[in-house]
C-alpha cells in the first residue's frame, strides 16, 4: 500500500528520501568508491604511495606465485571453518544451557560476553603467555604434578593456526551466545508446551522444534563470524605475528604487510580485491536470502 497519498505537498513526500540520501551517498563514496580505487591500484605498479600507470595483471600473477599467499588462503579456510563451527556450537550450547531458568544468569552472561569488550592489543599478551609451553598451561600443569602433559601447539608449525582458533573462539563465542539466547527467548512457549504434551523428550524437542526456529539467529551469527574471520588481523599479530615462520599468515595480515610494510602497494591492493571477492561470495547470497521476500503491503 502507498502512504504517499496521505501526504501533503512535495516536500513531505521527498523528505524521507532526503533524510536517507546523505547516508547512502557517503556509503557509495566511502565504500564503493574506495573499492573501485583499490581495484584500480591492483593494476598499477604502486609501491610506497598510489601510482596510476597501468601494468595489467602482473600483480595478480605475482600474488598467486607467492608461497605464503597460498598459505594465507589455506589458513583462512582452516581457521574460518573451525572458528565459525566452534563458535556456533559453543554459542548455541551456552544459550540453551543458560535458557534453563538459571539463577546466576545475570552473573554468567556478562562473564561470557566481556571478551568482546577488550582490545587484543594486550589480551593477546595474556593469551600468548597462556599458550606458551615454557610459562603457560603446560608448565603450570606440570608443576602441579601432571608431568606428561604437553601443550606446545603455538610453537608448532602445523598446529599454531589452531591456537588462533582457541583465542578467537574465546573472544566471540559469548557474543554468539547472546544472539542465540535472544532467538530462544523469542520462541513462542505455546509451541513448546504443545510438543511436551505430546510427550516429546527434551533432546527431540530441541532438535526438531526449537533449533529449526532459530534460523534468523543462525544467519546473523554466521555473518558476524564470517566477517570477523576474514578481517582477523589483531589476533594473529598479537598471538603469533604470523609465525612460526610464516605458518599463521592470513589474508588480512598479508594485505597489510604488502601494502604498508613491504612497499608493494600494487600486490597489496590485488590481495585486497581477492579478499573482497571472498567476502562478497559469503555475504551476497546471505543478503539475497534475507531480503528477497517481498514486504510490500505491510
Amino acid at each position: 500500500m502507498e502512504y504517499g497519498r496521505y501526504l501533503r505537498g512535495w516536500a513531505q513526500q521527498a523528505l524521507p528520501r532526503l533524510v536517507l540520501a546523505p547516508s547512502f551517498a557517503t556509503i557509495v563514496l566511502f565504500v564503493y568508491g574506495f573499492i573501485v580505487f583499490t581495484a584500480y591500484l591492483s593494476f598499477t605498479n604502486s609501491r610506497i604511495l598510489p601510482k596510476f600507470n597501468l601494468i595489467g595483471f602482473e600483480n595478480y600473477e605475482k600474488l598467486f606465485g607467492l608461497r605464503h599467499w597460498s598459505t594465507a588462503i589455506e589458513n583462512l579456510v582452516i581457521f574460518g571453518g573451525l572458528y565459525i563451527a566452534i563458535c556456533t556450537a559453543i554459542g548455541l550450547t551456552l544459550a540453551i544451557l543458560l535458557d534453563q531458568k538459571i539463577r546466576a544468569e545475570g552473573v554468567l552472561r556478562p562473564l561470557y560476553l566481556y571478551p568482546m569488550a577488550l582490545s587484543f592489543i594486550v589480551t593477546g599478551t595474556a593469551w600468548k603467555w597462556f599458550l606458551d609451553p615454557g610459562i603457560g598451561l603446560e608448565q603450570t600443569l606440570q608443576s602441579w604434578g601432571w608431568a606428561s602433559f604437553e601443550f606446545d601447539w603455538i610453537k608448532n608449525r602445523q598446529m599454531a593456526i589452531y591456537t588462533i582458533v582457541i583465542a578467537a573462539v574465546w573472544q566471540t563465542s559469548g557474543f554468539v551466545m547472546a544472539i542465540f539466547l535472544a532467538g530462544l527467548r523469542g520462541i513462542d512457549n505455546e509451541i513448546i508446551k504443545a510438543a511436551q504434551i505430546d510427550g516429546a523428550s527434551n533432546l527431540r524437542l530441541y532438535a526438531r522444534i526449537i533449533i529449526p526456529q532459530l534460523r534468523p539467529a543462525f544467519l546473523s551469527a554466521f555473518v558476524v563470524l564470517a566477517h570477523m574471520a576474514i578481517k582477523s588481523y589483531d589476533l594473529v599479530v598479537a598471538l603469533t605475528g604470523g609465525g612460526p615462520g610464516r605458518a599463521t599468515e592470513m589474508p588480512a595480515t598479508f594485505m597489510y604487510s604488502y601494502t604498508f610494510t613491504r612497499n608493494q602497494m600494487g600486490i597489496g591492493a590485488g590481495s585486497a580485491v581477492i579478499m573482497l571477492m571472498m567476502i562478497a561470495a559469503v555475504i551476497v547470497p546471505y543478503l539475497y536470502a534475507e531480503l528477497r521476500e517481498p514486504r510490500h503491503g505491510r
Binding site: P50, I154, V237, T240, G241, G243, P244, G245, F260, T261
Partner: protein
Amino acid sequence: MRLKSFLAAGVASAAMILAVGLAPSAQAAEEVEVLHWWTSGGEAAALNVLKEDLEGQGVTWQDMPVAGGGGSEAMTVLRARVTAGNPPTAVQMLGFDIQDWAAEGALADLNAVAANEGWDGVVPAALQRFAKYDGKWISAPVNVHSTNWVWANKAILDELGIAAPGTWDELVAALDAIQAAGYVAIAHGGQAWQEATIFDGVLMSTGGTEFYQQSMIDLDPAALGSDTMKTVFDRMATLRSYVDDNFSGRDWNLATAMVIEGKAGMQMMGDWAKGEFLNAGKQPGVDFVCFRHPGTQGMVTFNSDQFAMFAVGEEGRSAQEKLASAIMSPSFQSAFNVVKGSVPARTDVSDEAFDDCGKKGMKDLAEANANGTLYGSFAHGHASPASVKNAIYDVVTAHFNGEFDSATAVEELVNAVEAAM
C-alpha cells in the same frame, strides 16, 4: 523510559565537545611535530632531552608517538598523513625508507644547515648514503646501532673455561660445551627479524665483506645462488640445533633475560640488548661480556635511526632547521646514545660518557669506517629496499623453522629476490 532526556543529554554533550574541539588553540611562534616510535622508558626520556633543548630555543615540540612492529605502524600512519597533505615535520626512519620517501619528492632540503655545521666531514659515508638524496641532505642521523654482536653470560663462560670465540669452529666448540653443561646454548626469539639478525652475522663471517656486498647489497643472483650461500644456510641450521624448543615467537628481550638469568649461554643480537643487561643491574665485563659475531671482527653491520625531514613549507623551515641542528649537536648525540646503547652518528663525539661496550662500539665504528668494512645491515633495512628485505626474511625464517633444507633455501632465495625487485 525517559528517552528524550537521554537523547537531549547526548546531544548536549556532543555540542559541548564540539565547542571544546573547535576552540582555537594558542599558536606558538614556532613548532615541530615529530612522529617516532621511541616510547619505552629510557629512549623516550632521552628524546625528552631534545624536546627541552628545542623549547629552550622557543620551539614547541608536538609529540606524535606511534609504536609497534619496529616502526611499521608509524610508517602506515605516515602514509596516511602524507596522503592527507598533513605531513609531520620530522619522522623517525630507517635506511631505504628514507630514500624511498625522498624519491617521492616528499622530503625537505637541509643543505643550508648541513653546510653551515659541516655534517659532510663528521658523518660516516655509509650513513650519508641514506641521509642524502641526489646530493641534498634530507635527514639527520641520530645514532648507529651495530647488529653483529654476541652477548654472553660471563659466569657460564668462566665456569666452563670458554674464551670469547673468534672463529666459526671456536663458536661451535663453545656452544657444544655450553649445551653439554645443561644450559640452553643460544637464547633466541623466533621472529623473522631476529633470525635475519643472526643471518647478517653468519653471512658476513662465512663470506666476508665482499660476499656481503654482492649478495645483500648488489643482490647479484650469482652470489645469492652460490655454494657460499649454501654454507651460510648450513651454518644457520647448525645454530638452530643450539636453540631451545620453545623459541618460536619469543620477544628478543625475553631471550636476553635467559642470558641474564644464567639459563642460556649467549644471544646474537644488536647493541640494544645491552640496555636489558644494564636495567637488570648487570655490569659489562663483570656479569656479561660482549664480542663481535665470531669471524666478523673488524667488520660492522649497522642500522641508523634518522629523523627524515618532510617538506613543510617556508613557515616551518626555521623550526625544522633548529630541530635538525639540535639532533646533530654532539651533546645530544652523546646523551641520547649513552641511554640507548647505540653509538653517535658522528665520529667526533667524545666517548667519555660511555661504558666499556659503548667505547668499544665507537672504536669499532670509527675503524670500520676508516677501513671500508662498515656495511648496512640487511636485517634492519640498510642493505636493500623493504620489499627485498622482507622477501629474504621469508626464506630465512622458513629455513630456520625447518620448512626448507639448505639447497632449497638457496633456490628460493634467488627466486624471492627476483620476484620482489
